[in-house]
């Protein structure tokens, strides 16, 4: 491999990885705070893409506004779904929470996917370009949309991170994820935190979907790939470890770029999976995981 190929792969991997970070963070957060293995996470990505598409085409909004609107849409949908499903489930649940909530998210995913198919159809809905053009970067020409999409992802991750670290609400969310009963005793309203957490996680996914619309058009089952990629990341670094998803996302992005270059695109998942299996063999809790109780 000469150096242009290597930098090509690195840049490609990092651009990809940025999106995985954005997706995986929300997934990890929801698991850490609510103990929900979210199977519907990809559907919020799909919703984000559709929101942005309709905002651009029907609403005629400029790309930046469309992406913001998609984020808000994701937030509202996430909050609604939390109130309608997990809230009553939590109230009625007696044990088996992880499995039961997992199945509820599966139901949600099924509903959203098929509703989209029924209402919008299966054809691709995309925009040819957001900003257009390309930028020369380290001797490579990369399309502006990719770069801006990546920057949006990084900005969202950074803002979200600051929110978690610096604000009162963010601290409350982290407190719940560390010790739910303790947080409750400190006067944190669990119900509000749960709704907010799920809504924020959905918002991040929706932003990811919206930001990539000009590269990946919207279609009903588009959420599957980002969903399992983000699960790859989360399992690789360890469940509930939000910080580590940042490293994990880029890692998976680069691994994929390299393996699809050297073996072909169809083998990239096989390679990622083999790496995950190796990690699980050596360290069952993931690269940076804490011990999970059996």
């Amino acid at each position: 491999m000469d150096s242009t190929v290597i930098s090509d792969l690195l840049v490609g991997g990092i651009l990809r990885g940025g999106m995985y970070v954005l997706m995986a963070m929300g997934l990890s957060l929801v698991f850490g705070v609510m103990r929900i293995p979210n199977f519907a996470h990809g559907e919020f990505y799909m919703l984000g893409a559709y929101f942005s598409y309709f905002a651009c085409t029907l609403g005629g909004f400029p790309p930046a506004i469309a992406i913001v609107l998609a984020g808000i849409g994701g937030f509202v949908c996430g909050a609604l779904m939390e109130k309608v499903t997990f809230y009553p489930l939590r109230k009625r649940s007696r044990g088996d929470w992880i499995m039961n909530s997992f199945l509820v998210t599966a139901g949600l995913s099924f509903i959203l996917q098929n509703l989209a198919q029924a209402l919008v159809g299966t054809d691709f809905k995309g925009v040819p370009q957001y900003w257009g053009g390309s930028i020369n970067f380290a001797g490579l020409s990369v399309s502006t949309d990719r770069i801006v999409g990546f920057l949006i992802a990084m900005a969202s991750v950074a803002i979200f991170w600051l929110f978690l670290k610096k604000t009162r609400t963010g601290n409350a969310i982290r407190a719940v994820s560390e010790h739910e009963t303790g947080a409750m005793l400190m006067g944190i309203e669990l119900n509000k935190i749960h709704t907010l957490t799920f809504a924020l996680s959905s918002m991040l996914a929706a932003i990811a979907g919206a930001a990539l619309l000009s590269i990946i058009p919207a279609y009903p089952t588009m959420g599957l790939q980002p969903l399992y990629k983000s699960w790859f990341v989360v399992i690789l670094v360890g469940l509930g470890n939000i910080q580590a998803t940042i490293i994990g996302g880029f890692l998976v992005g680069v691994i994929e770029a390299v393996s699809s270059f050297s073996l072909g695109a169809m083998w990239q998942d096989v390679v990622s999976l083999s790496i995950i299996i190796l990690v699980l063999l050596v360290k069952p809790t993931g690269l940076f995981g804490k011990k999970m109780k059996v």
Binding site: I98, L103, L108, L115, Q117, Y228, M266, I277, L281, M292
Partner: protein, 340 residues
């Protein structure tokens, strides 16, 4: 020892006890016998085919329940493993000319081996890990069958020879009928045995089970492997019943279909999922005209069952029997549940 006087009742009781060991209550036997005559009672090919599909889904759901109900692992790659069984059998037949009967078994063993590996890797941790790793493997198998067109013809579909030289459903009905009964008996027998006790203990409180001397890895892996075996077995049947295979068979939506049936039927019962298949499959077949909305209903049903009645039909039945027994106990003193 049976005294002369109570020979008759003693014999009946013994028989009942022995059948009970195979998980067969008189009601279950009655229903199975009735079902066995169905091809002679029902002339309509369409309905018979529907029965075959119900039996197939019922068997799949029973296998699913073994893991989901007993050790609390909802196998998210179940459809992938079923597809693995199907493609194994089909490819053995088309490439090596191996009989579909042997192929079906080979497919089942193939799925079981995958299940064993997934289990060994992940069952040390929360059940969710096994569910998700199985899902990854299912997705990858699906991607590989789609891309390896030289071997599987990908999305074009692989034509597979049927078990018999006929497209009529009757002989296939008896094949899946036998698979279903054997699966039912084996699973009921396993779950009613000490093995089942270990499964239940691990599923309900793994830490307490360990202090009771139950080796968590060993029994969870056994359980998961058997469950995957059933998936592979059904896959083989599917291949030689439908005559064409596409990678779509491994799609997660089929796992959800099986799962909805298993959960409506009721976890931890084996019979509940089987019964539910005969209710759910025909209803959804009837609802086919709704297209995508059919799956929306599937999703809604799943959420509603999980929130409002996670015990399903089996739990409802146990609840009724409980009330009945309580009345009887008050009248005649304690007696064990004849259906247990």
């Amino acid at each position: 020892m049976i005294s002369e006087k109570s020979l008759e009742t003693g014999f009946v009781k013994n028989l009942k006890h022995n059948l009970g060991n195979f998980g067969l209550s008189p009601v279950a036997i009655g229903l199975f016998v009735l079902l066995g005559f169905a091809p002679y009672l029902i002339g309509d090919e369409y309905i018979l085919r529907l029965l075959v599909i119900s039996l197939l889904f019922g068997t799949l759901a029973m296998g699913f329940d073994l893991s989901a109900g007993y050790i609390d692992v909802a196998n998210w790659g179940y459809a992938g493993l079923m597809g693995l069984g199907a493609y194994t059998s089909a490819l053995l037949l088309t490439n090596l000319g191996i009989s579909p009967w042997i192929g079906t078994l080979a497919g089942a063993f193939m799925a079981a081996i995958f299940g064993l590996l997934i289990g060994v890797l992940t069952l040390k941790m929360d059940g969710m890990f096994a569910a998700i790793l199985a899902w990854f493997i299912g997705l990858i198998l699906m991607a590989l069958t789609t891309s390896l067109t030289g071997l599987t013809r990908g999305a074009l579909g692989l034509n597979v020879d049927l078990y018999f030289n006929t497209g009529w459903s009757k002989p296939y009905f008896y094949v899946i009928f036998v698979i279903c009964i054997v699966t039912y008996i084996v699973l009921r027998r396993v779950t009613n045995s000490n093995l089942g006790l270990a499964f239940s203990a691990l599923g309900q409180d793994a830490e307490a089970a360990r202090t009771c001397g139950v080796d968590p890895m060993k029994y969870k892996v056994i359980n998961f492997t058997i469950s995957c075996f059933v998936a592979g077995l059904c896959g083989g049947f599917y291949a030689h019943f439908m005559g064409i295979l596409t990678p779509d068979i491994m799609s997660t939506k089929h796992t959800v279909e099986v799962l909805v049936i298993a959960y409506i039927g009721g976890r931890r019962s084996i019979w509940g999922p089987l019964l539910a298949a005969f209710l759910v499959v025909p209803v959804f077949e009837y609802l086919n005209f709704l297209m995508e909305f059919k799956y929306v209903i599937y999703g809604l049903l799943l959420i509603l069952v999980m929130i409002f009645y996670p015990g399903g039909i089996a739990h409802f039945y146990n609840y009724i029997v409980g009330i009945f027994n309580e009345k009887k106990r008050k009248l005649t003193g304690p007696e064990s549940n004849p259906f247990a």
